[in-house]
Every structure is written in C-alpha cells, then in structure tokens.
Amino acid sequence: MFRSRRLVSLTGALLVVGVVASCGGDDTSTPSTDTSETTATDTVPVAGDPCADASGSITVYSGRSESLVADLYTQFTADTGVAVEARYGDSGELAGQILTEGSATPADVFFSQDAGALGAVSEAGLFTTVEASTLERVPAEFSSTTGDWIGASARVRVLVYNPELVSAPPTSIDELLDPSWSGRIGFAPTNASWQSFVTGLRVIRGEDGAREWLTAFAANDPVAYEKNGAVRDAVNAGEVAIGLVNHYYLYEKIAAEGADAVVAENQYLPGDVGGLVNVAGAGVLSNSDNSRGAQCLVSYLVSEAAQTYFTTTTFEYPLAEGVAAFESLPAFDELDPPAIDLSDLLSIAETQELLADVGLLTL
C-alpha cells in the first residue's frame, strides 16, 4: 500500500472534524481507523471560498516533508480539483532557491517550516498578499504583519531533559548559565529553530543582552549536534542532561519508539524568553500563473481538516480557531510566550554573525 498508514491517519483526522462539527464538543480521542470517506466533503471551506473558481495545477515548494504533507496535498486535490506538483526540500534551501530564481521562479506556493525562511522571501518582495478570508482564520500575531504569508501551525521552544540526570529542571534559560550545567547542555547550532530563538533573544533583550547570555552560554561548553532530533536522542541516552529543542521532538520519539523507549521529558518555559513560539506557514508567490489555485491551497492549510491533521501527526499547535491541540500538550494560551513580532525573526544573518562571534557557530 502506498503510504497507507498516513492516509488512514488523515482520514481519521477528517473523521474527528466531522464528529466535532456534529456534536459541538472538543473531544479529541484517538480516531478509529475504520473510517468512511464521505466525511471528507464536509470539511471543504465554504463561505467566501478562495477555492470557488480554483482549478488547474500549482507548484508548491514544500519545506514541510513529503511524509508529513503528501497525503494532505492528495486530499486537497480530491476536495478542490486543483492538482499539486510538490517540490520537497529543506525550508532554508527552498527559500534560497526562490531567492536565486527571483521573479522567474516556477513556484506558486512556498510552504515553509519556519517564519525566518518566509521572511526572507517576503523581504525580497516575491510574495503577494494572502486573501483576507484566509488571514482571518489565524490570530494576527502568527502571520506576516503585511499579510503576505500566513502561519499554519505553531511550535514552542522547550528544554528537553533526562529526569535521571536532572531532578529540578530550570524554569528559565538564564538558569542554564550556572556552572553546574557545564558540558551537560545539548543544542543544534545550525538548526533554524535555534537560530530563530537567538533572533528572538536579540529582539527582546537587545544586541548586548543577547551577546551577554550567549557568551555565558558558550562558556558553559554546550555540546553541538547537527539537529534537534540528535539533541533529543542525546538527552534521552544520557549523553547530555538537557537540551534546547522544540516541544514536539519528544512526542515524535514516543510515537515512533513507544513510551518505554523514552525517559526524557519536556520542561515548558512560560513567561521566559526561552519559550519562544515560532510557526510553519505559507505564502503565494506574486508571479504565480495560477494564483487562484495557490490561494486555495493556502486557505486549505488553515481549514479544520488540515489543522486537525497537523495536530494529530506533528503534535504542533493548531492556529485556526476551534481546533484542539494534542492532549499531552499544555494549553496554547498557558504557554505565555515572549511577545514578539514574528516578522522580526528575519534577521538571521545578524544572528549568525553574533553566534559566530561568540564561538557558537562556524561561519
């Protein structure tokens, strides 16, 4: 079977939407795998529908992985009749590709893993405005201030720690500067989410404040890993005691290897600069030759069906109103992330310079 497992979970997600819609509750119990296909048609967005006159085919540069969104695109095509040609890759790399291609880019939609890559394309003036009816579905602080890209799902920075090595996990990233953590912290210096966090740190504490924290952090000999998943695995294996990652890595490991294989736990950081919320989102390229189809897909990403799908498969927070998050997560409004304009996360180049300066990144 062709990716049958994920197809089932998508259909399952759609069924849940049907259930929620019919009884008005917020029950998110695990759906049965025995589903009927008729529920899918209930979830097509209706009023002010950007998909009303959409057709043809669109090219999506997809920074979100195929294993995650291929079934979503298939379902989108089935629901709207708009065919999707997806080009999968790393978000930063695809942003680089769009910037290199310039206005000649064949992409109609850029679906990015993080706000920074969207910002880079936005800053180059290659996006057009997302339709108002789509933007409305998501709180304004999680989309572009100029409305040229929209947040689709959210993740929060956490400390993942090994309870066998850490009895009282820190409640603020400033506690990580204590010498007792020397050589026991894992992080992923080239990871986009880490760099977005540092950018947030610069925005909130200013250049000097950020440099001060980073210098002290570097002095504590943190251990560099290639990516967040490796940090999480190192923490789980006891290689390091604690790591700076996104919230969902832990749940991914539990889902993949079972709860027995995972000793690590998440420490959320409400009210702390360390608990930055970042988003995955999408924008429509301004020279798209099928902007109706492109707008249709972007609106679809914040539809209940897609939002529920992200929630149940990635453990990210949904951003559209009325969709419940994964049950193990703290409520989204309890996260109390630092107030920041996500558009400010653009200045990655300055962040990388700073990181290189304090010796946390090789440039």
């Binding site: 497992r5 999968y88 790399e93 440039l363």
Partner: protein, 486 residues
Amino acid sequence: MLAAVASLAPLAYLVDVAFDRGANYLWDEIWQRRTFDLVVRSAVLAAAVTAASVVISVPLAWAVMRSDMRARRVWRVVLALPLAVPSYLAAFAWISWESSLAGFWGAFLVLTAVSYPYVYLPLTAAFARLDQALDEIATVHGRGSVARLMMLSARQCRGTLAAGSLLVALYVLSDFGAVATMRYDAFTWVIYGAYRAGFNPTRAAVLALVLVLIALVLVAAEAMARGRAVTTMTSRAVIRPRPIRLRRHAVWLQALAVLVAVVSLAFPMWRIVVWVTRFGTEDGVGDVASALWGSVRYSIVAAVITVLVALPIGLLVARYRTRASLLLERSTYVTHALPGIVVAISMVFIGVRVFRPVYLEAPLLVLAYVALFLPLAVGGIRSSAEQIPLGLDDVARSLGSPPMSVVRRVNLPLIAPGIASATALVTLAAMKELPVTMLLRPTGSETLATRLWTYTTVSDYAGAGPYALAIIVFVAIPTAIATGRR
C-alpha cells in the same frame, strides 16, 4: 568546448555573487582568522584521507591484479563496492552506532572508507595493462620481493595514482554529507550553512572561490607529481601477466582486505539490515521502485553523455599534449572541487534564466551531472589512453588506416576497460549525488538519494532502511559489472 563551458558556468556565477558587495568586502572575508581555520581544517582532512586511500589502495590493487592472492577475482569486485555507499549514509550508520565518533576521526574514517576506490579502481585498471617484463627483469636481478614488485608497479602507474589521489582530495573537499553528519566544520558545511536560507550568499560564494583556488593548487600539484612519467607500454602489455607468488605476504594482504571490506562495506550493510529488520519499512514497494527508476534513468543517461564528452578530451590529453588540450582538461577538474550545493545553486541561477524550458526538468539535471562528473570520466579515460604505445598508431597509419579509423579500430578497443570503469564511476557518482539532485531534479520526481536524505535528516530509520538498501544494492551492480569483467 561545450564541456568546458558547462564546467565553468558555475564559476562565472560565483565570481558575480562574490563581488556583489565590492572587492573590499571580498578581501575582508578572505583575510579572516575563521577563513584560515577553515582552510586548515579542510586541508588536513583532505590530506589525511588521500594518504590513507593511497596506503590502502596500492597493496590491495596490486594484490588483486598481479598476485596469486586467494579469491582475488572476488576481492577485485568487493573492494570496489564501497563506491556504492554514499558518504552521508556511511556517516549516519557509524554515528548512529557510536556518537563519540563525531569530529575529525569520524569524518576521516567515513571519507576514507567511501573514497579510497577512486584510487583503487583506476589503479586496478592500470595494473591490468602493466607490462610484466619489468617484473621479470627485477626478479632476475634479485629484486623480486613482494614489496619491491609492488613499488615497481606503483611507480609505473604514477600518473594513475596521482589522478586517483586528486579525485580523492577533491572528493573530500567537496563532500558535504560526511562532514555534516560528523559535525566536522569543513568548507562545505559552512558554505552550505551560508547558502541555505539565502541569507549570506556572498560569503558562501567567497568561500567557494577559495575552495576553487585550493583545487587549482591540487590540480597543479597533481600535474607535477605525474611529471613526464613515461608510461607507454609495449604491445605485450595486452598479454595477461603471470600472477606473482605472495607466500608469507598473503596473510597481511588478506587481513587488510578483510579490514577494509568490513569498515567500508559490511558495517554499513549490517546497520541497514538492523534498521530494516528492527523498524520495518514505512514506504511501499511502489515508492522505492519509482525512486529507483528515477536514480537509474538520470544517472545512466548522464554517464553515457559524460563519457562521450570525456572521450575526446581524455584521448587528446593523453596523445597530444598541447597547451590547449591541457587547459581544457584542467578546467573540468575545477568544478569537481566545487561543492555540489554550490554547483546546484549556480545551476538554479543560470538554469531559470537561460534554460527556462528545461529548468527543473531532466535535461538540466543531466547537464549538471555532466559538469560535476566530467573529471571522473576524463581521469579514467586518460590514464588508460596513456598506456597505448604511440607506435601502434603509426603502424596502423602506415598500413593505410585513416586517422578516425585508427581511433575506432586501435585506440578504442585498447581503452575499453577505461571506458567501462569511467561509465561505471559516473553512474555511481550520479546515483549517490545529493545536493544537485535535490535542487535540480524534476519537480515531483524523487531518487533513492533524495528519499534517503529526507528520512535520515529526521532519523527515521524505518523510512530510510529500504532506500539505503536499494541504493547500496543497485549502485553496487554497475560497480560489480565494471570491475568483474576484467
């Protein structure tokens, strides 16, 4: 000429981007401590891996081609197979097993394991065509010990050895997968980081130019090392030489062969089998088959075209050493030192503007492969063409053969092993290639390499397993064919 243009197009783009912020900025970027450190780190790694590759390849290639080593026909093939293992896959196999390998030693181990065949393979081709008369003369004069005969053969194949070493050094400098996975801050990782989000393309271009300069130095050094070595053989070279008795040397040569095979082949295979058996598979046969079809299609077309382009260059350089022919050959080597990611982005820039109709279609991908892998093919063809006795041409001509007929009836049959191994090398390299494939593959199509990378980046063993298995098995087939035929 077309080949040279294809090779040099990325350079034009690099220079353009590097000067984006003016010459002063460029100068500042180069004269920095961190740039110097990068050069040192990359150079140390390249030198270490190259040295290790030569140390491994000379005795093994000699043993399987010239000696009476047990099961040498099998070893001949097995020892070439690590070519089929992509560096990022090998690195992932090792580091997911033992995380303390991260850093220099991990990168050294993995890169040596996957790149020594670039010396070993052409060397076996050269040894196969070596005249045994010298061995006999040496033996008659009491210099017939195994070590001496080995050195004698190696010295005769200095050109091949130098060309192979150059390939290994360039491979190390431009490899991304192994250094990234092993977290060794080499050039490519840093360039990739700067390019990735498109945040600092200027610095990436500047660093890529520095890397090209290093490559130029290497290419020049290789030319000097090869020197004016006379490698032409008598026509007796085609006679299959009598194997040399190893006697007590058989033990350590066998042990070395086993060690190399375990580190570079058996270990990653074992890890893949563990992934597949423990975690099962996520994708169906259909997914793997379509990725396989993508890999096979693009890489075989690329290999055929690359060898066709390389053939005149290789023959020209080997037979008629003019300044122009050398320049043509050298220019193709330069791109080989460009990291795939840089070539890929250059091709994106040029492709979308100049080749819009085929942008993100198969032809542009194939063109990029040709530009990337031309040196592989030229190197292989040149070294086997060099060993054709010049006198043969004259004899054929004096017997009334027109020039093209000499090439067809005399030269081509003699360099057939070189052509076969060049075709195999390019096919393998294209199948394993990652960054260019990722950026230029036709939208909607996948290859084994892109699938594998996608899954390994998220440590998804269940997803990666079948593709890892497929890539190793199917890349191994052309390797086995090319090496086993001789």
